[in-house]
């Protein structure tokens, strides 16, 4: 029997609140399946299971906040013997009653069970009133209160979710916020991480200008024959170029922890995504070095869309081995980024712009892009940094090889 535990999704995470079980006891799960949604200070995050097996029991009820490392569920490994199913009577039996006034009785609520039937579910007055005001069907809301009752915050979350991903026919209300993202908490998290980075990491910076002509030409040509769904954006090329470059220069790919740098065998490129309304997160595209460009593009789009809806997976947030940040749509020339610890490098791209450029002896207008590398001097030196950024630039001039 394996325990599925509250993962640590970030250096600053101490606890998480379980907001949704996506799998129920008896359901088969396999490595990589998303089985739960956890609320953190960075928002609601889908968490994956790393076992193959069958969910035996859910240990933590919805709505409960538990420290990192707390067992959330028991998973019976594939092939392990089946525990006797609890009888209905046993399941329904009240918890043993301790001498009433002196013992701290466990909170009397079912931990988990089959989905509540559509009629007869409990909902609080506050939840009902809010649901009525917002036109939300309580039957579609998962309860997190005592005995699984739907409480105010459940309806509020449902409403936020609707706001973040409105049905095609409805005009969304103004000032919508993605589900479960607490911008103030996120701001605090960013503040803590960046302050730590600037305090602890000796940054050095390497700047370089790239002629994007070959890349943009190639993109135009490629996209001209594709329907919009399959079109590529420059960001996808950048992800792939960075992934390949750090694979070649591994001192920029990995984590500096406990006083030493540990390079990563795999390349997970974190993409800084600004949230509408403020804040940002940098979830990863896993194994970006091994994905084709179309696949990178599909992952990138999916990631951006999910981030803006407030839903991303735990592993996407915790395990980028290097980060890419691009302000390419905001018209700035360049930016000098701050490393997201415990990573050791971050690459920033400015806005491609047509500027004079020397080719041979001729000055001609070319679309130019300014790249900046910020790297941890404890893990690498400027010379290697220069090699890295040159390598990225070279790969961008040969887009067919990406």
């Amino acid at each position: 029997m394996a325990e599925f535990r509250m993962p640590s999704l970030g250096a600053d995470m101490e606890a998480g609140t379980l907001v949704e079980w996506l799998k129920q006891p008896g359901e088969a799960v396999k490595h990589g399946d998303v089985i739960a949604v956890v609320e953190t200070q960075k928002g609601a995050i889908e968490i994956e299971v790393f076992e193959n097996g069958v969910i035996e029991k859910l240990l933590v009820p919805i709505g409960q906040t538990v420290p990192v490392g707390t067992a959330l569920a028991l998973i019976r490994s594939a092939g392990a013997p089946i525990a006797p199913a609890p009888t209905r009577a046993a399941a329904a039996a009240p918890p043993p009653v301790a001498p009433a006034p002196v013992a701290a009785a466990a909170p009397p609520r079912a931990l988990a069970g089959p989905p509540a039937p559509p009629v007869g579910f409990k909902s609080s007055p506050a939840a009902r009133k809010f649901a009525e005001e917002k036109g939300i069907d309580l039957g579609t809301v998962q309860g997190s209160g005592p005995d699984g009752a739907i409480v105010f915050v459940d309806v509020e979350n449902a409403w936020r979710q609707l706001q973040a991903a409105p049905p095609a026919k409805a005009l969304p209300a103004a000032k919508a916020q993605p589900k479960g993202i607490d911008l103030a908490a996120m701001r605090n998290a960013i503040a803590a991480a960046m302050a730590r980075s600037k305090r602890e990491i000796p940054h050095y910076y390497v700047l370089h200008t790239v002629d994007l002509g070959p890349a943009t030409d190639w993109l135009s040509l490629t996209n001209a024959t594709r329907p919009p769904e399959r079109r590529l954006v420059l960001g996808a090329l950048l992800v792939k170029a960075v992934a390949l470059a750090v694979r070649a220069l591994p001192e920029f790919n990995g984590f500096f922890r406990d006083g030493r740098f540990a390079p990563s065998e795999r390349v997970h490129v974190g993409n800084a995504v600004a949230l509408r309304g403020g804040g940002l997160v940098a979830p990863a595209i896993h194994d970006a070095d091994r994905l084709g460009l179309d696949e990178v593009m599909a992952r990138l789009r999916d990631l951006v869309n999910r981030v803006r809806a407030g839903r991303y997976r735990s592993s996407e947030l915790t395990d980028p081995t290097v980060t890419l940040t691009s302000l390419g749509d905001r018209g700035v020339d360049a930016l000098l980024p701050i490393i997201n610890p415990p990573q050791v490098a971050i690459i920033a791209a400015g806005t491609p712009a047509r500027r004079p450029w020397l080719i041979g002896d001729e000055v001609i207008l070319r679309p130019l892009l300014q790249l900046a590398l910020a790297a941890d001097h404890r893990a690498s030196d400027g010379h290697r940094g220069a090699l890295l950024i040159a390598d990225i630039a070279r790969r961008l001039t040969e887009p067919k090889g990406l």
Partner: protein, 83 residues
């Protein structure tokens, strides 16, 4: 489809990619990408959505024509059947 219907669809789709923006008060000639603060991927999402709702395929080369609300309405209007 009337001009008003087209405008409604366009505004809905813009609302989907920039839910917090009050589109009703947006100037018709404003630069959408500026006014809405959207990036290339969001813009691509808009192009994809317009294709599925209106059947209009906007090639990359025409993206600049959709820079303003006014321009987008004109561009899309000209390409919709039954308009």
């Amino acid at each position: 489809m009337t001009h008003d219907e087209l405008k409604r669809v366009l505004l809905e789709e813009i609302g989907n990619i920039a839910p917090e923006v009050d589109i009703a008060t947006m100037h018709e000639d404003a630069d959408l990408r500026e006014a809405l603060d959207i990036d290339s991927i969001s813009f691509l999402n808009l192009i994809i959505a317009l294709r599925s709702r209106l059947g209009v395929d906007v090639p990359e080369i025409d993206y600049p024509k959709l820079r303003s609300l006014h321009g987008a309405l004109e561009y899309l209007g000209a390409r919709i059947r039954n308009y």
